[in-house]
Amino acid sequence: MRSVHLETLVASPPPEHPWQVFQRGFKTVAPLLLGIFPFALIAGSVAATKGLSLPAAMGFSVFIFAGASQLAALELMGKNASILVVVFTVAMVNLRFMIYSATIAPEFKTLSTPWKWLAGYLLTDQAFVLSNAEFEKRPGWGFRHWYFLGVGTGLWAAWQSGSLVGILLGAKLPASWSLEFAVPLSFLALLVPNIKSKATFMAGMASCGAIWLFAGLPHNLGLVIAILAGIFTGVLFENKAGV
């Protein structure tokens, strides 16, 4: 009896604490900072060069907290677009967050409402991809929200500090450094481990093909079409392989 008890004790993994899990999530973000920080620098410096005050430029990063849409909005504001067009464009560029929200929602089903608001606010491309990969490995994990909070907080801190530095530097950031190239590189680093099958590969190819064809559509609609094309192609190839 006693030895059986001991065996089960040894076999069970060491207990986890919220703080440890939070830190682990936070640390997962560290290598991604190479991509986030330059992106934030650019977003901040563009806001400053378009004549936004420091509080307004930081307001962009804190309240919208989505780089691509911030840049799109600044671009339109520079062209004196109407407020509604700017807001609509931001909504379109950020439509993908709805898909992330739907994907990750089952994991957060049991959380309290404040936790859900916090998780929603911190839901970005990188937070989604990193946490999603971890959640897939650990179904029913009791500390997943702490992991997500660690990832989200790390990304948030990097984004806000990078924005601030970018705003303060303004136009002084040399274009020859090509810092913006770190953005697709960080996406590439996240993408490659996700290509695990023929179906995922074809999904990626279809997505590229669709953005090529539809990039000229207004309001970044091409991106939404590309995402949908990728998803449907993936499912199509999965069904083919399955039957």
């Binding site: 929602a105 957060f108 090509s178 697709p184 960080s186 481990p193 179906a199 090529w212």
Partner: protein, 112 residues
């Protein structure tokens, strides 16, 4: 842009973005997610990331634009290879930036 309209944009764009992020996380109480949706959603990361990478490398102002001399392509290819071999985010980004900077310096040196 006036002071008021800038802050109006920040407030509205911020609310819209937060609503999109919260949509399903908060909305679950009101509607149930169908089982088949999971199957579709697993392709979201690949679809989004591929499109974003392709757009940033080949699309300029809504048009396809590519040049054989663009040092970003060999840099991205080598970075993809590193990502595939090591699955290391840090190494992937560092490789890509190093290759880009080296090739740019080389192009300048060769006056190409």
């Amino acid at each position: 842009m006036t002071y008021t309209s800038v802050w109006l944009i920040i407030a509205l764009a911020g609310m819209v973005t937060l609503t999109l992020r919260l949509s399903f996380i908060l909305g679950q109480r009101f509607f149930k997610e169908p089982a088949w949706l999971r199957k579709f959603l697993q392709y979201v990361p690949v679809a989004v990331l591929s499109a974003l990478i392709f757009a940033s490398l080949f699309i300029t102002a809504g048009r396809f634009q590519a040049s054989w001399r663009d040092p970003r392509y060999p840099a991205a290819l080598l970075a993809a290879w590193v990502a595939w071999k090591t699955k290391n985010i840090f190494l992937t980004i560092v490789t890509g930036m190093m290759v880009l900077w080296s090739l740019k310096a080389l192009l300048v040196y060769l006056e190409w």
